[in-house]
Symmetry: C2
Subunit: 225 residues, 2 copies
């Protein structure tokens, strides 16, 4: 029985990684569409979001079946409970990519405000955080999860810098305001994806620490903020 449960849990892990890969690709394409002013690539992100939603439903049903059939306890149960939150969060990251893509589409009709260097850089950081948060989850790697949490401060700093810089463009010339607000929205969406990745990483740290507390005190408990 235990072997079967492992196979099923592994299948959920693989599907979560696949879902994270799709979300990451969507963010990548949305930023590329923004940078290269490519409305058809932006449209592709919107269309492809259905694949992320379909995978969410697949994983949800797998978790349901797994809980009903194998009735996991202890660490396996904590893992599934975390997985339920994670597919919900990955679906939202897909939505943020769609928001960025829609903004990219709008921006193709406006003149370019400034060379896009910081947003693609921020996009790369956010994609890496997303990838590392999922990797840390499937391998229960608390050190990697901590790296994700540290990167979140950097992304917050980049977003803060972006908002301030865009404010100066707005103050300089009212004709910049529309473009600047659109870029500010992109930065905020990236910052939200970083937050969601950080939530996943915090979950991993919580699971790993609850295990070590359990190991020390012989019961499953733990604190988190």
């Amino acid at each position: 029985m235990e072997r079967h449960l492992d196979v099923e849990i592994n299948s959920v892990k693989q599907d979560l990684l696949k879902m994270a890969g799709l979300a990451e690709a969507s963010i990548d394409k949305a930023i590329k569409a923004l940078k290269e002013r490519d409305a058809s690539l932006a449209q592709q992100v919107v269309v492809e979001d259905a694949a992320i939603d379909a995978l969410e439903l697949k994983i949800e049903n797998a978790c349901f079946t797994l809980l009903a059939r194998f009735q996991p306890v202890a660490a396996d149960l904590r893992f599934i409970m975390a997985a339920i939150k994670i597919y919900n969060d990955l679906e939202r990251m897909g939505d943020h990519a769609v928001n960025i893509a829609k903004t990219a589409e709008q921006l193709t009709t406006m003149s370019q405000l400034k060379p896009l260097i910081d947003i693609p850089y921020m996009g790369q950081m956010v994609q890496e955080m997303l990838r590392n948060s999922l990797d840390s989850f499937v391998s229960l790697d608390a050190a990697k999860a901590r790296q994700v949490c540290e990167s979140d401060d950097l992304v917050d700093g980049l977003d803060d810098g972006m908002q301030r810089e865009l404010l100066t463009y707005m103050l300089e010339d009212p004709r910049n305001i529309s473009q600047a607000l659109n870029l500010a929205m992109v930065s905020k969406n990236l910052e939200r994806v970083a937050d969601l990745s950080t939530n996943i990483a915090e979950e991993v740290i919580f699971i790993v620490e609850a295990r070590s507390i359990k190991h020390r005190f012989g019961e499953d408990s733990g604190e988190r903020n």
Copy 2:
């Protein structure tokens, strides 16, 4: 055994309602702090967020124990899986209230841009959506859940109107830009809380429809977007 499970599920329901009540009160206070330029009330929202976080941990542990001890199946299991997503979402709504409170605190140092009528109105709508989404969940009331989804379009429309109005203030006078950006952030945070409530309502519709599909076809399946 079944009686015990019902008692435990009911206790999770009560705690979710309590958590929703705290999140709602936080939003209410944050908007009041904004309207009345009350920095100490804003500070209170930030401090009180710890109670929401503590309740999240309590419900998480209750769900864990419930799944491990009673090994629920079918509708009970769907309910617990939804509850796991919901306490996660309620915690985020608390974070949005904190964001609004922090913005309110900043705005007390600036002159008032415009009379605050629409944001408090939007705040009331969002609080009602939050309350109704939780009510629809604990009573599995699909009709009430659909009302929440419909209200989401209204809140999106209000946010859109706010963003456009604030843009005109920015275009009119660059000295308005800082305040306008802060108010735009409040509106976006309220819109996010409405989105989270809508996710809960969609979950309720999904659970109720999956039940009715199961009833008709003898299996648990369903589609959602």
